[in-house]
Symmetry: C2
Subunit: 624 residues, 2 copies
């Protein structure tokens, strides 16, 4: 272990002054927009001062450089302090802080990567540490770089289970390049936190979770600096710094008082800052510069394609979930930055195919989906990996808030959800995703793939890897025959006309298992002299408005949509939105009640999405 050298008295004074400037700027900027969180900013002022000016290695000219130490403010509402700290580095003028929360300023109410010094959005609590853990994992095991990752959490958010998932992940993978700082300021939004200032309980819990747990006075520059030194010199486990602080620290009459959460100081400002303003001698940026980071992080390319095209035999039955595993492996062969994060279902989703050949490109997140998603977002941040994250589709709902925040982070994570709909069969409704299309369609800037055979599934995964923003690919449990030849090509937003004649009476839209039911219905109907046009949308978002309209018009507006999903938010509503204004005679076959356990085919029939039900719906439309 290196010998610790405490900062000299002059440096300590400079760091104290920076902390106080952070406080004052936080008060002034929140006063300027009449909203925001000055007291939550004040409690972290010394932590930020020490981190940004005595610990972290980065360059103000490239704050997001891959070799720079990373900082995630999990308690995102304290961003006035973060913006203030960056202004002191000289990254932008201090006066910019006064544009906080204004519609034309990217210094938003909570941090987002619209700013060039933010890697991931925060503001929904308890999510930062998972993202930091994903970054640290990539740094240690993929980049093999010396950059370190720091995450600052509030004590209120320490009640979030996702934090404990991340803590468990951090120690399991021995992320000694990761530091969590807990700002124990005692006060939540509406009352005292459950543990208040009981730092010993925090210490016991963090120690039990396998972290190097250190309690410090969070307003003492020396104690903080020494703890960060301990973190840098502890091998095999991450460090948690439990910083006892005061909310509104330094504000006269406000410090450690209730009912000051999320409130600008307003008329109280002059009194509250009476001591602090006097302590500040330096009006310019800080007179300390950060240390530059070592240049030891490799450049990476995220260009990727399938290492070889789909190669299935005629009539072969393959589940789309299996084709996902195949495609993931082919992408992994093509680019060693293709990774997958799993939640102990790799043998069901088939992400195990990647692990078997490239164990270094596979992250086992165990049964902790919120952290799994956060780790994937962290791993994908700063364009370091092409990250897939796969589970049963229904269990991705566990992390909807993380996924929603991922969109605000502009993440490019590719989600893959298997075991969808009643067609999974006997496991019953708890394992059936019946709302996943609605969930992922409602994610900002998302792309939603729903491949119906192995060829289109491989291409969906390849397209997903090359699509910006969040993607979701819905895969199915049952094995089905291929609909497309091995050399078929696919595009985002382009549907496929799978069956047509010059005399189609009705358009039938199906996807996944219901496309196969639609084709069976089409055969049956054709035998009875009724031709239908069968459409595979391929992507549900964006959905092919022109292709759908063309089919609908060719069949006199007669339309059946059939989906293994609840009616709300799924394919039916996506189609209706895409063709709104068209003349329609419409039947929507979807799962309209809480399903039961049972054999797959029997359930599809019982809940009205089998070939038989489709034929009946077509006949009803034609006889109406």
């Amino acid at each position: 272990m290196d010998l610790y050298h405490a900062p000299d008295a002059q440096r300590v004074e400079l760091l104290k002054e920076i902390a106080n400037k952070i406080r004052v700027i936080s008060v002034d900027s929140t006063n300027a927009c009449k909203s925001g969180h000055p007291t939550s900013s004040a409690s972290i002022a010394e932590i930020l001062s020490v981190l940004f000016f005595n610990v972290m290695r980065y360059s103000t000219s490239a704050p997001r450089a891959p070799n720079a130490d990373r900082f995630i403010l999990s308690k995102g509402h304290a961003c006035p302090a973060l913006y203030a700290a960056w202004s002191q580095t000289g990254l932008f003028p201090e006066s910019d802080c006064m544009t906080l929360r204004k519609i034309d300023s990217d210094l938003e109410g909570h941090p987002t990567p619209r700013l060039n010094f933010i890697d991931a959005a925060t503001g929904s609590l308890g999510q930062g540490l998972s993202i930091a853990a994903g970054m640290a994992y990539v740094g240690k095991y993929l980049d093999k770089s010396s950059f370190r990752t720091y995450c600052l959490l509030g004590d209120g958010e320490a009640a979030e289970g996702s934090v404990w998932e991340a803590l468990h992940f951090g120690s399991h993978y021995k992320l000694d390049n990761l530091v969590a700082i807990f700002d124990i300021n005692r006060l939540g939004q509406s009352e005292v936190t459950s543990l208040g200032h009981d730092t010993e309980t925090y210490r016991k819990r963090l120690d039990a979770f396998g972290w190097n747990a250190i309690v410090v006075d969070g307003h003492d520059i020396n104690e903080l600096d020494k703890a960060f030194f301990s973190a840098s010199n502890t091998e095999g486990k991450p460090t948690a710094i439990i910083a006892k602080t005061l909310k509104g620290s330094g504000f006269v009459g406000i410090e450690d008082q209730m009912n000051w959460h999320g409130k600008p100081l307003g008329a109280k400002t002059d009194e509250a800052l009476s001591r602090l303003r006097d302590l500040i001698k330096n009006n310019g940026p800080a007179r300390i510069s950060p240390e530059s980071p070592p240049d030891d992080c490799p450049e990476v390319s995220l260009a990727v394609k399938l290492s070889e095209p789909p190669s299935y035999k005629e009539g072969e039955k393959v589940a789309t979930r299996k084709a996902f595993g195949t495609a993931l492996l082919k992408l992994g062969r093509n680019n060693n930055r293709v990774i997958n994060v799993d939640g102990d279902v790799k043998n069901s989703t088939f992400s195990i195919d990647l692990e078997n050949e490239f164990p270094n490109q596979f992250i086992q997140g165990f049964i902790a989906e919120q952290n799994m998603v956060g780790v994937a977002i962290g791993a994908a941040a700063r364009d370091r990996t092409i990250a897939f994250c796969s589970s049963f589709a229904c269990f991705l709902s566990r992390a909807f808030d993380q996924i929603r925040m991922g969109a605000i982070s502009f993440t490019n994570v590719n989600f893959v959800g298997s075991h969808v709909g009643v067609s999974i069969g006997e496991d019953g409704p708890s394992q059936m995703a019946l709302e996943d299309l609605g969930m992922f369609r409602a994610v900002a800037n998302s792309t939603v793939f729903y491949p119906s055979d192995a060829v289109s599934a491989e291409r969906a995964i390849e397209l997903a890897a090359n699509t910006k923003g969040i993607t979701f690919t819905r895969t199915s449990r049952p094995a089905t025959v291929n609909v497309y030849p091995n050399d078929e090509s696919f595009e985002v937003g382009k549907c496929k006309v799978v069956r047509s004649s010059g005399d189609d009476k009705v358009t039938v839209v199906g996807a996944g298992v219901t496309l196969h039911e639609a084709l069976a219905a089409a055969d049956e109907l054709a035998a009875g002299g009724v031709n239908v046009r069968v459409i595979d949308p391929f992507t549900i978002k964006p959905i092919d408005s022109d292709g759908l309209k063309s089919a609908i018009r060719a069949t006199g507006g007669k339309l059946v949509v059939v989906e293994d999903h609840y009616p709300e938010g799924g394919i039916g509503e996506a189609v209706l939105a895409a063709v709104a204004g068209e003349k329609l005679v419409f039947k929507h076959l979807a799962i309209r009640e809480l399903p039961h356990s049972g054999p797959s085919a029997a359930l599809m029939d019982k809940y009205g999405i089998s070939a038989k039900c489709i034929s009946k719906a077509v006949q009803q439309i034609l006889s109406a």
Copy 2:
């Protein structure tokens, strides 16, 4: 502390025999349906035997009686063992177990309350302990009854953060009537769990989380029984029993082996059961009966109405979130079983109004939304309370999986989500719910309210309290004037025509803040000689198909829907689905990009949902 009396040798033998019968039935029933989890059942056989036949107090004639001890199988996939245990109590014939997972049997693949001995559905892991904690909380603080609550968890699911939220909640509220049993069988679905058989780490963590943590051999009847005795005699803290077990325990050649998760034994059965079958002498139900529970749980009525009608002054501006607080308090005054579970935002959602007058009817869940929802589901189980659960609407997405499972539990929890849409203003996108309508619409059997003024908000909350299934009420941050008189009445599934004339050119549907924008647009348009019909849907699910069609037909099919929500899954798609087949000229105003921080009115204008944007859309439709 009472003196411990160990069961005598004969009783121990009987309990061992029951455990082995549970194993054999689990194997036979999963063989019969060729799916399911016999090995996960085998590891808990002794735990169930001791609990059901030597510890728990209940009556087979009324397994869900309010005074009966409760049991939640959080690792729901082990239900073959649970069904086998109940068959041994004589509740139903052992032969019924062989209908496992069949479409006409309620012995489903994972337990649901379709069965009269199940309080809440499980199967998505890590959720049972929160539900059990909700039950225990009600037992201790509302019922003041002596019933005890037992929850059996798997070790794989112990990685779920929601478990640690529940553990924190349990110790914080000193739930000494709650026992968690962790089945540490070492093997997950796809690999060894992260902690394997490291029971000491589990013990340290559970102890640090404030539980009476006891490690036992989970296959030793005496050790288990003694641990349950310790639980019953420990005051002020809940007990966690860490049971070291073997997956597939007792199955020759399978016990403690990988790759047997979720697999019937099939051809291996005879060999695997060769020892066990010989040990079983009793072919009928168990020769031990459970002890009856004391009759100390009060009867409750869940009939409820507002204690007094809405009473607002003309022109008064009130946010619907504030009206929620008022209505919640009025319901609480009318029925002391009305409770609210909060996530440290009571002063923003206004659930604090209930706490201030009836602190006993308020549960602070701190910042842990998954547990908050689970506690509400547990509190509402067996019709013990009228449970509300309120937070910022965007943070309810944190618990989507719990809410989804709540629907499978047939829960009647009423969710209320505030701070929706861009109209919240400066806090920015992380705090804006823009997908909540889509999320709650896609919940099975849900009812979704979206009140637009304080009068309708109070009535929505009253209707929600009286509606079966999950309800969601969407409330808004900005204060608005009332649209309705104090004596207006409302119905689920009935819209309101808020503005109409004999000469309306376009129908405009708005809700919440956009109803007010629509009315402002209507004024502006009327001044220019164009009348529009303005509709307030009141409930988004079910949505008033007839009322909408009538308005749309009266305006020649011309329709504008405007909502403070992403386009997917919200009001626009709900309307399109409800009126599919109608001739339409349609404009959908919704939030179509990731929003920014800024003032509320400026954001509504920027993202296209303000009165000005509505007027423009109407003009465009009319000039098309």
